[in-house]
Structures are given as structure tokens and as C-alpha cells.
């Protein structure tokens, strides 16, 4: 377990180094995800313990957003002043984005879903 947690940390560290030195527009952890993904492609399978570590991290992904979410208290004044445009923009735009993306994915991808027949 700890061995594969170390692998994940190494991927993130490598990702941070790449993102900073090459001034990439994506953050270190996303680069780290790409590095680990490439590693899995090369290896051709997922080690059982790595699956366990990732399951533990992703199984409680919601928890990890709580500290940043509490940061809402730092901007209470601004959010209070602009509450109407902010809530309207967040709700309408997010629903619209989900609709546009899901419809495009479904239309462009229709033949594949029929082939698989499992979704």
C-alpha cells in the first residue's frame, strides 16, 4: 500500500516539476495523472495494491473539497453584494454546460454505444 502511495506522490512531484519548468497551462497533479496513465499503458495492467490506494483516495473525494469550500466565508461581503448575478450565472451556466456536453457526446458517439450494448 505505502509503496504505491509513494508512486502516486512521485508522479505528482514529477508532474509539478514538468508543469513549472515547461510553464505548462495545466497544474502539476493533472500532469501527474498523465504520467501515471502513461505508466499504466506501458505496463499494460493495474497492480492490485495501486487499485486499492486509488480506491481509498477516490472513494472519499468529496471530503477533500470541504476545506476549500469553507473559504466561502472569506468572500462573504462580495458574495452578498453580487448574490443574484453569481447564483444565476452559476446555476444556468452549469446546467447549460452539462446539457451541451452530454448531448454532443451522445450524438457524436451514438454508433459506439450500440456496438457495446452495455450502457
Amino acid at each position: 500500500m505505502l509503496g504505491y502511495l509513494t508512486v502516486i506522490f512521485c508522479c505528482q512531484l514529477l508532474g509539478e516539476l514538468l508543469a513549472t519548468t515547461l510553464a505548462l497551462p495545466v497544474p502539476g497533479p493533472v500532469c501527474g495523472m498523465a504520467i501515471l496513465f502513461t505508466g499504466l499503458l506501458v505496463r499494460g495492467s493495474i497492480p492490485q495494491d495501486l487499485a486499492a490506494v486509488s480506491g481509498a483516495l477516490l472513494g472519499n473525494l468529496s471530503l477533500l473539497f470541504i476545506p476549500a469550500g469553507v473559504g466561502v466565508m472569506l468572500h462573504a461581503a462580495l458574495l452578498g453584494r453580487d448574490w443574484l448575478p453569481i447564483s444565476a450565472a452559476l446555476i444556468i451556466s452549469t446546467v447549460l454546460t452539462i446539457a451541451v456536453t452530454a448531448l454532443l457526446m451522445t450524438w457524436l458517439d451514438a454508433p459506439r454505444s450500440e456496438d457495446d450494448g452495455k450502457n
Binding site: 477533500l64 469553507v70 466565508m73
Partner: protein, 238 residues
């Protein structure tokens, strides 16, 4: 009485107290969410955040003190993002077959997310700071903060708007896609990750493994697409 106060001063200065508060708040959120059979409206992040907020307001604790303890949880966002490579790898065959759909959908989704948010906020008279900070709202927090800084917004306000967007998407995404008759798990997950990044991905993972993998993929791709497209778009219009 004096001893009790000393204990409180000691505890509130150590990371243990606010780390524990965060874990308890999450357990509260998870308990309610599970009791409601994963009803999206009872999002565990939302309940967890509100629980912590109430505790901090009641005890008069500033955010900085809270974050000193909570940062250990916050830190794990990085490794969790890296770990998204595993569900993604499990879907590699489907991803390869859907490459064209993925590229078109992510560009369209990225543009819809930022243009519609800025347009709506502007039409309703939002301040300049809000407009600049809301543009990258659908992108995962660290990238969104970077984009916001480049546009001249307030990165810390962007972080809050990003979290709120994630919660809104995780709450309303299921209903939106049911109304549109979208059944394919890959399309459902992909839309979730595009619009509401990691919080949408957390919801997708709770519902279906394929949806979770596509949501994680969309989150990463939308970070890339928005980071490349938004500054260009901004320069064209302003």
C-alpha cells in the same frame, strides 16, 4: 473554568481540532447523503461545508486558524487527482474509440461554461472583479485560480466560485441529464466532469465507475482546454 479555557486555547492552536472537525463534518454529510439514497440535492460537500461553517461561526474561529488544521485534508487533492489515472486506464478502450466526440465535446463544453457564466453575470450587473473571477468557474481549482490571475481576477474568489459550481453541478446534473434522456454513462460522466470538475467527478464515482472515469478525464481535459482558450478569447473581446 480557567482550565477549560486553557484546554480550548491549546486545542484550537493544534491542527488536530480542525482536522477532526473536517472529518466529522464529512461523516455528517455522508450519513445524510446515504440515508437519502445518494439524493444529489443532499450533496455531502455542501452539508460538510455548512457544518464546518456553523461550527466556526459559533466559536468565532477565523478561516486561517481552521485551514491550519484542514490543510492536511486539502493537500490530498493533489494525490487524488493523480489517482484518477486508474479509473481512466480501465476505460482506455472506450476513450480511444470516442476520441473525436471527446475533443469536440470538451471544446464546446469549455466555451459554454465560461462564456455563458460571464454573459449572465454581466447582464445582471455583477462587479468587474466577479466577472473576471467567474470566467474559469468550471475548471478544477488550481488551474482556475491560475487562469483567474492571468485575466486579472481574484484567485481566492475564483476558488470559492469553483467549489460552488462543483456543488451546483453535482446537485443538478442528474436531473438535467435525466430530463434530456441521456443514458450513456460515459456521456453522463463526461458532462459532469466538464461542468463541475472534481466535485462532479466525486458524485459520478459514487454512481457508476464508467461515469467516474469519464468525469475525471473531462476534468483534466477541460483544465487544458480552458487554460488555452480563455486567455485567447479574453484578448479578442477586451
Amino acid at each position: 473554568m480557567r482550565n477549560l479555557r486553557d484546554i480550548w486555547v491549546y486545542l484550537s492552536a493544534s491542527p488536530l481540532l480542525h482536522l477532526t472537525l473536517t472529518l466529522i463534518a464529512y461523516q455528517v454529510g455522508l450519513f445524510v447523503y446515504r440515508r437519502a439514497r445518494l439524493n444529489p440535492l443532499l450533496n455531502p460537500v455542501l452539508i460538510g461545508v455548512v457544518t464546518v461553517l456553523v461550527a466556526l461561526l459559533v466559536t468565532g474561529t477565523p478561516y486561517e486558524t481552521y485551514f491550519n488544521g484542514a490543510q492536511f485534508v486539502h493537500f490530498l487533492l493533489g494525490p487524488a487527482t493523480v489517482a484518477l489515472a486508474i479509473p481512466l486506464y480501465r476505460q482506455v478502450q472506450i476513450v480511444r474509440k470516442s476520441a473525436l466526440a471527446i475533443i469536440v465535446s470538451i471544446v464546446a463544453g469549455s466555451l459554454t461554461a465560461s462564456v455563458s457564466a460571464v454573459a449572465i453575470a454581466w447582464a445582471l450587473g455583477a462587479s468587474h472583479d466577479t466577472l473576471l473571477s467567474i470566467a474559469p468557474k468550471s475548471v478544477t481549482a488550481p488551474v482556475a485560480m491560475g487562469i483567474s490571475e492571468r485575466l486579472g481576477g481574484l484567485p481566492s474568489l475564483t476558488a470559492v466560485l469553483v467549489i460552488l459550481t462543483g456543488i451546483v453541478g453535482a446537485m443538478l446534473g442528474t436531473y438535467t441529464m435525466n430530463a434530456l434522456g441521456i443514458r450513456d454513462w460515459s456521456a453522463r460522466g463526461f458532462a459532469m466532469g466538464t461542468a463541475s470538475h472534481g466535485i462532479g467527478t466525486a458524485r459520478a464515482l459514487q454512481v457508476n465507475e464508467t461515469a467516474g472515469a469519464f468525469s475525471g478525464l473531462a476534468m483534466g481535459l477541460n483544465a487544458l482546454a480552458t487554460a488555452l482558450l480563455l486567455p485567447l478569447l479574453w484578448r479578442l473581446f477586451f
